[in-house]
């Protein structure tokens, strides 16, 4: 089970901020999210969006462990 965290406008868009989800890879997780909510899935691939796995920014696909923390980060706006 990966812990999935949403920030900024993704929270408003998806209607949740944290969930546990079953996924072997980041690709699988994205697919599951997109199947559930295609608009939200599309937003996750928008310009400037980043993904952190265990608090490190990742590009491309990565395997997820049972305790992975996956965060979807909209463009950072600064303080």
């Amino acid at each position: 089970m990966a812990r999935v965290l949403l920030f900024g406008r993704f929270r408003d868009l998806a209607g949740w901020r944290e969930r546990e989800m079953e996924a072997a890879t980041l690709f699988d997780l994205r697919t599951a999210l997109t199947r559930e909510d295609p608009d939200f899935g599309a937003a996750l691939t928008g310009p400037g969006v980043q993904v952190a796995v265990d608090q490190t920014i990742m590009r491309g696909d990565v395997p997820l462990g049972p305790r992975s923390e996956v965060a979807f980060l909209p463009p950072m706006s600064g303080g």
């Binding site: 965290l5 920030f7 900024g8 406008r9 408003d12 400037g48 952190a52 608090q55 965060a71 980060l73 909209p74 463009p75 950072m76 706006s77 600064g78 303080g79």
Partner: protein, 146 residues
């Protein structure tokens, strides 16, 4: 030191602490960013961070500034949560031997914090709430540092 806080803070109290007991520091620059009321168009500001990740990302840039300008010390404090107009949002202090280094490092850190640091900002106004993303000016300011 890099701190996120939900509570209002007094930038002066931070400067008092930061300036104590320095005998080789010739220069301290500070910057305080305040929430503007924009003549009533912004009722309040809400800032979200990713605890742990946000501090560690700011820490990387702070280490870069420390090295690049040979800083003696630095302090960064950033509000999160709901912020009322007129309240301080961010405080940066830099200590160096000479003033050019202190000013430039402070300026550099602020450009980073305002445009690239892991915060998500929501403005609550009379016409509802909206998420704010970086302005073209923020990106341009950042470009100055190569």
């Amino acid at each position: 030191m890099i701190t996120l806080t939900e509570a209002p803070f007094d930038p002066g109290a931070l400067l008092t602490e930061f300036s104590k007991g320095r005998t080789e520091t010739g220069a301290i620059a500070t910057f305080t960013g305040l929430a503007r009321a924009e003549q009533g168009s912004t009722a309040s500001l809400e800032l979200e961070a990713y605890p742990g990740f946000t501090e560690s990302e700011i820490g990387k840039i702070a280490a870069e500034a420390q090295e690049r300008w040979s800083l003696h010390d630095l302090n960064i404090l950033h509000r999160v949560g709901k912020i009322a107009p007129g309240d301080p949002i961010v405080f940066v202090a830099t200590a160096a031997g000479h003033r050019r280094a202190a000013f430039e490092a402070c300026d550099f850190l602020m450009d980073y914090l305002k445009s690239r640091a892991p915060f998500w900002k929501k403005e609550h106004g009379p016409e509802g709430a909206r998420w704010v993303e970086p302005s073209a000016q923020d990106y341009a300011d950042r470009e100055r540092w190569g």
